[in-house]
Symmetry: C2
Subunit: 457 residues, 2 copies
């Protein structure tokens, strides 16, 4: 076995105990809220058959799939001319049957189709698992990262959209992150395209409108002209571009503009339903804004579109989602409408770090360390540890009885253990131990058998 | 996009909501107990560089590694003659830089070496993550499965062994599984080999002794003779083969037999220390048996060896572990002694299933479903749901207001929701809802605003 200087693949990460505590806090918070709304957890295998994955993420996505080399003699069925063909994508498909999960949506669709007879519809599931993409790694972009998706399929009720907004609101309330939920509807975008008669320019239009704050109305109109819109079309768009005010006002303006489009008006109706239900529930803690420039997943979403931005940190979208009409069609199960959201755990992690919002409790591991000076003292302490642990207090004893006090205290500090119990021969004799608060430095004598009641909550 | 009949790779599994609830119960129980003893969680990437993994699991292990095909033009640096060479293992190494984690131990060693300057030693870590092996799938053996390891490195104190026994004891006490912890020590086995002068036959000897119950003493001796031991050697082994009684008695016999072997006597001393500390702590709930036939990880473990068997189910070992002297040497960091255990989550899952030991609480998802008959009723219910969720009650409303009652009740049953609130126009008018216990069928009227106090714990 040759010695290797160890490293990990680029774009991947180790998670230290502190990082894990923070991540668990995020995942547990999201998990708890999903659970409150009746979403149930599933997991799917890390590997899927490439036949399940290929063609679902566009040509670029196919390239970003991590493919797993077949076991054994993987060249057995490959002809020499295939090797010389140079077509590595084709050859890859010949020597790799499996690939790593690229997202949680396609595996979920595959799951629903495979297990359709065991599931209760509407099926509300959540899934928190890593996904892998052979993307070029860069700041904030990893080759292995977690997604936290919740979807409900088999129901076209807009109440699902309402509840997903409540879930987003509750999760960020618990995190203490101030956010705005931006909301749009694919049908409204379709209505705009219909009204101005230029569906092929829809993306250009939303991109241009999105620049209003930065470049001003005149320049937006210049850009629209450059993209090929004529004056009449641009005139029709003006109320949409200048859209302002409360959500109700915005809806009124949109209605006037899109009155000629049936699909556009359907989109307005959906937004109105969602807003009115949310209001009946006392509104949300966070801002809830209609934003027509929101155009994520245009060739995927068919109704509501959501996106969440943190208000106090410069950062891209930290949560997103929307409604789709045909999740499972590609696997032979048509007509399965659904709506879902996905929390961006890595970005939320960064936001919580930047705003220093992690609760101390969530990050603490060991609460109490016993520092001793010999085997007799260790023997004195062991039953105390057992009693504390029985009461749920996370307790350690420094294992090496010969270690110097300084070494043991350094260990306590490095692990950020808030309390230390110091036990020497005097303490054993008197039955009173020294309890030190490692943050304040305060040290008091405590009867050994009163330790549990001091820490038990 | 062609329609494909969906399937998953052989040896992998989907986990349904009920299976996930059971698995989470197992993982959370183990996690909580690890935490009580000061073990902290880490995670490592699913992919490691193949240079980290290769050569660590023997030749067979190298073959069982899942290798990940390099992105892009993976044949760019491969010469035509390498392709014709037929040596697929060699070629695999040329076109794959990364592989999937095979266990948690090697990545942990790599982690310790890479992060040695950030860690507080002794470093107590636990890790609960999937591993992948290209093994032939069969009943109970999967290509993707979870390991739940705890290790402490940087301490040779036997107190660590004592605490790991306490951890095993506590975990199975919480599960309600009656187990026996079998304990051996590599040094005692070395002592036996030394005393009879046949170290190369050590494995044969332990295998033969292990058959005592099945084939009887005479046949064990016949087998030892066949394996090449002479009469003097067999005579010396008799007390070890017939080893009986309490652990103390066993230790006395072993001491007499191995008195001439320094290493053997060291092993006895270690076992004595561990047993005496465990006794001082009031012993264990589970059986704790010295078992010299326990010979797992012979070329790996250097001190204590542990194995756990369930008493009420026919099943292989459900937990194992031991001490090793040089975890990180292969990565250039010598002298790092450690000891660890690993819970076999999949087998524990099966044992809990067979003995029907899952607590009802752990498996329950939604506690309460609102069944309604129209939008007005839904509107009446929405604030009630919000209040219940605010109190931590996992609550759902059937999203489609037009759905028939039967459909909604079927949904409740399929999800095993224990309580249903039924709200029609009468209930809205009176402010009293019908609360139905889905298990007993009992149905009572409850004031809407008293629902929370009924469910809040």
């Amino acid at each position: 076995m040759a010695q290797v200087k160890p490293s990990i693949p680029k774009g991947t990460r180790d998670f230290s105990p502190v990082e894990m505590a923070k991540r668990n806090y995020i995942f547990n918070t999201i998990r708890d809220v999903y659970g409150l709304y009746g979403y149930q957890q599933i997991e799917t295998p890390s590997m899927e058959n490439l036949s399940t994955l290929m063609g679902k993420y566009g040509e670029e996505g196919d390239k970003l799939l991590f493919k797993i080399l077949d076991s054994g003699n993987f060249l057995a069925d490959v002809k020499p001319e295939e090797l010389q063909d140079g077509g590595t994508a084709k050859l890859a498909a010949r020597i790799c049957e499996k690939g790593l999960r690229y997202d949680l949506t396609v595996p979920f669709a595959r799951f629903v189709v495979m297990h359709q007879n065991e599931l209760a519809f509407p099926f509300k599931r959540y899934q928190i698992q890593p996904v892998w993409r052979a993307d070029r790694p860069q700041k904030g972009r990893y080759r292995e990262f977690f997604q936290c998706d919740a979807d409900v399929v088999g129901s076209d009720s807009l109440l699902n959209e309402v509840e997903l907004i409540q879930i987003i609101d509750e999760v960020f309330r618990r995190f203490g992150i101030r956010v705005a939920i931006k909301m749009n509807n694919r049908k409204i975008l379709a209505g705009i395209a219909e009204v101005i008669g230029a569906p092929e320019l829809l993306v250009d239009i939303t991109v241009a409108i999105d620049k209003l704050d930065k470049i001003g109305l005149d320049n937006v109109n210049v850009e629209l002209r450059e993209k090929g819109l004529n004056e009449e079309q641009i005139a029709k768009l003006q109320p949409i571009i200048k859209l302002e005010g409360e959500n109700r006002q915005k809806l009124t303006t949109i209605k006037q503009t899109l009155s000629a489009s049936a699909v556009g008006m359907k989109g307005v109706e959906e937004l109105e339903y969602i807003l009115s239900k949310v209001e009946k529930l006392g509104g949300t803690d966070c801002q809830l804004d209609i934003d027509l420039t929101l155009a994520r997943g245009l060739n995927y979403y068919t109704g509501a579109i959501f996106e969440v931005k943190a208000l106090d940190v410069e950062m891209g979208s930290i949560t997103g989602g929307g409604r789709y009409d045909n999740l499972t069609g590609v696997f032979g199960m048509p007509g399965m409408s659904g709506v879902g959201i996905s929390f961006g755990a890595d970005r939320i992690y960064d936001v919580l770090n930047q705003l220093n919002l992690y609760p101390t409790d969530a990050l603490q591991s060991t609460q109490l360390l016993f520092v001793t000076f010999g085997e007799a003292e260790q023997d004195f302490c062991l039953p105390l540890l057992a009693a504390l642990r029985k009461s749920g207090v996370r307790t350690e004893i420094y294992p090496d009885a010969r270690a110097k006090m300084k070494k043991q205290m350094t260990y306590a500090n490095a692990k950020q253990i808030p309390y230390v119990v110091i036990v020497g021969s005097d303490e054993v004799a008197s039955g009173e131990v020294s309890l030190k608060n490692m943050i304040t430095g305060e040290q008091v004598k405590v009867k050994a058998d009163e330790l549990v009641s001091k820490f038990y909550k």
